[in-house]
């Protein structure tokens, strides 16, 4: 399968092509981490992060690919692992109590957001994730969600987002984040 065809299918939100890419380049990409003192779990995490970053950019139409997909993925994996190694080295040499407190609060708020998303129905989950993460347009969302038209997609997105905001604000108030 040619790279152009892969990119075209990603732009339509075809998740089967994600499965194909993941399996195709798994050994090649994880080798970057494994051959640089990384574990199998770390290698998998780095590869998944790199592939999803590629997916996010490609599906939103923001990616201008000037090389092969494999080369692009390899460079992302390499940079991701360098950042991870830098983070590890900083954590081993620095102890910042303030950052740990702030990180804990951010993690807690993130957990609350995820819980609220989980409380949404599948339609809202789909519309919000396709819009904010995948960067799909209303036409593609309407097709994927089997909506009548893009206006339905827009309305669904607006209502789902408003519902999520309300859920999170209520949770934040209960957790005393406001």
């Amino acid at each position: 399968m040619k790279d152009s065809e892969i990119l075209e299918r990603i732009s339509r939100g075809d998740e089967k092509i994600l499965d194909h890419l993941y399996k195709k380049y798994y050994r090649m990409m994880t080798k970057v981490v494994l051959s640089n003192s990384g574990t199998e779990e770390e290698a998998k995490d780095v590869y998944q992060e790199a592939l999803l970053a590629f997916w996010q950019k490609a599906s939103s139409g923001k990616l201008v690919l000037t090389s092969k997909i494999s080369t692009y993925l390899y460079s992302i994996c390499l940079n991701q692992w360098r950042k991870e190694l830098d983070r590890k080295s900083r954590l081993s040499s620095e102890e910042v109590d303030g950052e740990e407190t702030q990180g804990h609060d951010a993690e807690e708020r993130l957990r609350i957001v995820k819980e609220c998303i989980e409380e949404l129905g599948d339609v809202c989950k789909g519309v919000l994730t396709y819009y904010y993460f995948d960067g799909l347009g209303m036409q593609d969302i309407a097709e994927k969600m089997n909506f009548a038209n893009t206006d339905t997609a827009k309305t669904k997105k607006y209502k789902c987002k408003k519902k999520l905001d309300s859920l999170i604000k209520s949770k934040y108030t209960a957790e005393d984040f406001f």
Binding site: L18, D19, K23, L110, V113, L128
Partner: protein, 307 residues
């Protein structure tokens, strides 16, 4: 509660869809409006939360994919398989080189085989060539030997009878044979002894088995002569079955018999008191006829003189 257009603006800011000018202007508003800043931070956490949720969702999907290497990938990555693969490749190359070299060696064998088969196929041609050569050699040799035998027999007969017998015809024949021998001598010695011995057709036995002229066997046998003296001046004789009976007055002058052997047969003449007589087959005792042909008499004299 923030207005929806304010929320849309905040989303555009966090999604990076604003132009640099719009971004700079919005950041100024954020700096001057704490409530807007708080709402922007809240929306940022929600958007990040949605993204993280989607990531977790997709990661769960990816984790469910079986990424264990297939046999091809296993073969590519396994050092053991690589080692065996290397050995297998080396063996294949070695075998290829061996058989290639072996096939080169076989080429001459095949050529030899082909040559053998060709030689088998061309045997008739070879025989034909040999046969032609044999024909050239056999004819003169056969004639030569026959004539030599006859010559020897003539000599032996003359020796036995002590009567020189020779004709110009027999001499000419011998001379012609000698000429043929000289002309064919180089060709005769052309093939080596091995080739001749291998060829049964060229064996000496065949040469010896060359049929002689029919009827010459009896003629070549020595003539048995039985003589009876008488007082008569006439000579009487009988001649049959190779036996010659003579009845005459041979007490004063002995006789001589001239035997001329040729392809046309044997002719016998008798010389007595300077007269030549012709001996013909005759089973009744009769007078021996005298040769009156002057030309024949001269020839007989010549043969006798050159004996």
């Amino acid at each position: 509660m923030p207005q929806q257009d304010q929320i849309d603006k905040i989303e555009q800011y966090h999604s990076g869809n604003m132009s640099p000018e719009e971004t700079a202007l919005f950041e100024k508003e954020l700096a001057s409006d704490p409530a807007l800043k708080a709402e922007s931070d809240f929306q940022s956490e929600i958007i990040n939360g949605i993204k993280e949720y989607r990531k977790s969702q997709l990661k769960t999907r990816l984790d469910a994919i079986d990424v264990s290497p297939g046999w091809i990938e296993f073969a590519q990555q396994s050092s053991l398989v690589k080692s065996f693969g290397g050995i297998a490749v080396a063996t294949a190359i070695g075998s290829g080189v061996y058989f290639f070299a072996d096939s080169k060696k076989e080429i001459p064998q095949r050529e030899i085989a082909n040559v053998e088969s060709i030689s088998d196929m061309t045997v008739p041609v070879y025989e034909e060539v040999t046969f032609e050569w044999a024909i050239k050699e056999l004819k003169p040799v056969a004639i030569n030997k026959t004539e030599k035998i006859r010559e020897v027999e003539i000599a032996s007969t003359q020796e036995i009878k002590e009567e020189p017998v020779a004709t110009s015809e027999s001499k000419n024949t011998v001379l012609e044979v000698n000429k043929q021998e000289e002309s064919f001598t180089p060709d005769f010695s052309a093939p080596d002894a091995g080739d001749v011995s291998d060829n049964s057709e060229m064996s000496s036995t065949v040469l010896d088995e060359v049929p002689e002229v029919a009827g010459t066997d009896n003629e070549l046998d020595p003539i048995e002569v039985e003589t009876k003296n008488s007082k008569s001046s006439k000579i009487k004789y009988k001649y049959y079955d190779g036996k010659l009976f003579l009845n005459g007055n041979f007490s004063k002058e002995p006789y001589e018999i001239l035997e001329i052997n040729s392809a046309s047969g044997r002719r016998i003449y008798l010389l007595h008191l300077n007269k030549y007589y012709e001996v013909k087959i005759n089973d009744r005792l009769s007078e021996l006829p005298e040769v009156t042909d002057i030309k024949l008499i001269q020839e007989l004299r010549l043969i006798k003189a050159n004996k």
